[in-house]
């Protein structure tokens, strides 16, 4: 998506708006003619949405009688939980991203990674260990890295590795599996290998090119970056897609009963696939998913490892966030590629370490 920075730059310089780029995730901007648009820009608020919102805030019970259905209540509880659970991490990610934009020179970022992308990928994966957040934090940060000149494959590897191998998540895993350090080791190794493999595959098969064309529509503003404005517009974008993802999670969890997965609790391939899909469906934050995995003793350890590796890399809210940040064309290839790689690596690492 074209960022608000482009708009600010345009507003500041008075340049004409560029033709809207074809971006399926965003409705093309079919605005009013220029005169009317200038009029609209001078206006600070559109009245209609705010009037509706004010009515909702002041008289919520007006609509309350329609919403006592238990399925809808269940949907609402899960929807708000997923949104609130991700919010602190999203704020952390947006803050780091805005700080990178405002205070870290792009040349420093580029110089701190090896010049050859195939080497930059593993270095970026290890660098993921320094961001103590979950998957929602790493999306805005990875986007910022790429838009500031880091090789896309390296940025994507960082995106995948950071939420799984940072110390907070590893300690949580150790607490959830007391006396079993091999689980922590297996999670670390499998996540790292998956992230690096996907990074290399993206480079090899040009998946990251889609990303480049997408982010190319985010021109670097020539004036000094502004922390507050960047944070605000980054949050609007990521937050909007987070809400869309949370709605998908709540809807699927309400429609598909978990007991449907109960029939495949058996060991072997079905168990691995079932838990990998459960990770996509549940969309639990990576700092808590080890506790969920601890509650699945009827599955093999390898299947539970797949749950821990897939969860921080592919899940419903993450797919929404990624397609919002990098474009749907990219996310629709990246998510399946990551899913398959993560499952394969988990099975491999699980058979060696667990």
């Amino acid at each position: 998506m074209r960022s608000a920075r482009a708009d600010r730059a345009r507003v500041a310089s008075g340049a004409p708006s560029p033709a809207p780029l074809a971006d399926p995730s965003v409705p093309a901007d079919v605005g009013p003619p220029d005169a009317a648009r200038d009029q609209a820009e001078r206006r600070a608020f559109h009245p209609l949405p705010w009037v509706v919102l004010t009515v909702v805030v002041l008289y919520p019970s007006t609509f309350g009688y329609f919403f006592l259905d238990p399925a809808l209540q269940n949907w609402a509880t899960i929807f708000i939980s997923v949104t609130l659970q991700a919010l602190p991490f999203l704020v952390l990610g947006v803050t780091v991203s805005a700080a990178l934009a405002a205070f870290v020179p792009a040349s420093w970022l580029v110089r701190s990674l090896p010049r050859r992308p195939s080497l930059a990928v593993p270095v970026a994966a290890l660098a993921g260990a320094v961001l103590p957040g979950c998957e929602c934090s790493s999306v805005p940060v990875a986007r910022r890295l790429v838009s500031r000149g880091v090789a896309p494959a390296a940025g994507l590897t960082f995106l995948l590795a950071a939420p799984a191998i940072n110390p907070v998540v590893l300690v949580a895993t150790a607490v959830a599996f007391p006396g079993r350090p091999e689980v922590v080791l297996a999670r670390f190794a499998a996540s790292l290998v998956t992230a690096i493999t996907v990074g290399w595959l993206c480079r090899r098969f040009g998946v990251s090119d889609r990303l480049e064309t997408h982010l190319a529509s985010t021109p670097q503003a020539s004036h000094r970056h502004d922390f507050v404005a960047t944070a605000s517009s980054d949050f609007l974008q990521a937050g909007g897609f987070l809400v869309a993802g949370a709605m998908a999670v709540a809807t699927l969890q309400t429609i598909v009963p978990e007991s449907a997965l109960r029939s495949v609790t058996g060991s072997g391939a079905y168990g691995v696939l079932a838990l990998a899909l459960l990770a996509v469906l549940l969309s639990v934050c990576s700092e808590a998913d080890a506790f969920v995995a601890a509650g699945l003793p009827q599955f093999s350890m390898t299947a539970r490892l797949a749950f821990l590796v897939v969860g921080p890399m592919v899940d419903l809210k993450l797919i929404a966030l990624q397609s919002g940040t990098f474009g749907w064309r990219f996310a629709s290839r990246f998510a399946p590629l990551t899913f398959v790689t993560a499952v394969a690596v988990s099975v491999l690492v699980g058979s060696i370490l667990l």
């Binding site: 309350g64 404005a229 974008q237 969920v292």
Partner: protein
């Protein structure tokens, strides 16, 4: 969307986070440990949002982030639908995850510490469930009456029994797992669905056998039943 509106949406989202984090509503959605982080994030969003709005009022501009309008949905849903904690509906649909106590839990110590002045010690449902799966702990619970708190889910058409239910969460309501204990020997009518009750009773020793999901539910013979107010913290989370 104008920049002023964008800032206002960010501030509103922050306000929603702060409002939720400073009331018991938080406990319907998240584990209590998230309260501080949500407060910090909410305050940061309010500051950034208001700064953006104030600046945009002086120099208006457009914000090309239409997806940001979706941020009004969580706030509106919370106000209009006013969702309660997960209840009987969710308990009937979930059940892939097995509840587990993480970390160290010593039942014998816990019972000794909890039973003074002839009181029955309190146990979390998830602790009781876990204990019922070990032969040693089962022996203890057969003779020691304990107190359990949860809400009522009818057990089919059984007239003198029900399923005492409570969710255990790792992080938020999206990963909630129902823990159920069958309560038998009820003298009167089964309380209405989703009534919160405190149950005092002893474990009926029956080895959990095999794959049948139903046989994994431990059974308690009821000594005392007391209706209680719904607790502020509806879910059990790791101690």
């Amino acid at each position: 969307m104008t920049q002023a509106e964008g800032g206002l949406l960010v501030a509103l989202t922050g306000g929603f986070a702060v409002w939720t984090a400073s009331t018991d509503a938080l406990l319907r959605y998240l584990r209590p440990g998230m309260r501080l982080w949500l407060l910090v994030a909410g305050c940061a969003l309010m500051l950034v949002g208001m700064a953006t709005t104030i600046r945009a009022l002086r120099a208006p501009g457009r914000q090309r982030v239409r997806i940001g309008w979706l941020l009004v949905i969580p706030l509106s849903v919370a106000l209009v639908v006013r969702p309660g904690p997960l209840g009987a509906y969710a308990a009937g649909r979930r059940g892939l995850l097995q509840p587990a106590v993480t970390g160290h839990f010593d039942l014998r110590d816990h019972l000794r510490a909890g039973s003074f002045a002839g009181q029955s010690p309190d146990l979390l449902l998830v602790e009781f469930y876990q204990a019922s799966r070990s032969a040693d702990d089962r022996r203890l619970l057969r003779h020691q009456s304990v107190r359990l708190t949860g809400f009522v889910v009818p057990d089919g058409d059984e007239p003198h029994a029900f399923l005492l239910t409570r969710f255990t969460i790792a992080c938020c309501a999206a990963d909630a797992t129902p823990v159920q204990v069958a309560v038998t020997g009820l003298p009167g009518e089964v309380p209405a669905e989703e009534t919160w009750v405190e149950v005092e009773g002893t474990l009926v020793d029956r080895r959990p056998d095999g794959d049948d999901a139903r046989s994994e539910i431990p059974t308690v013979r009821l000594d005392h039943l007391r209706r209680v107010a719904a607790p502020a913290e509806p879910y059990e989370s790791p101690r």
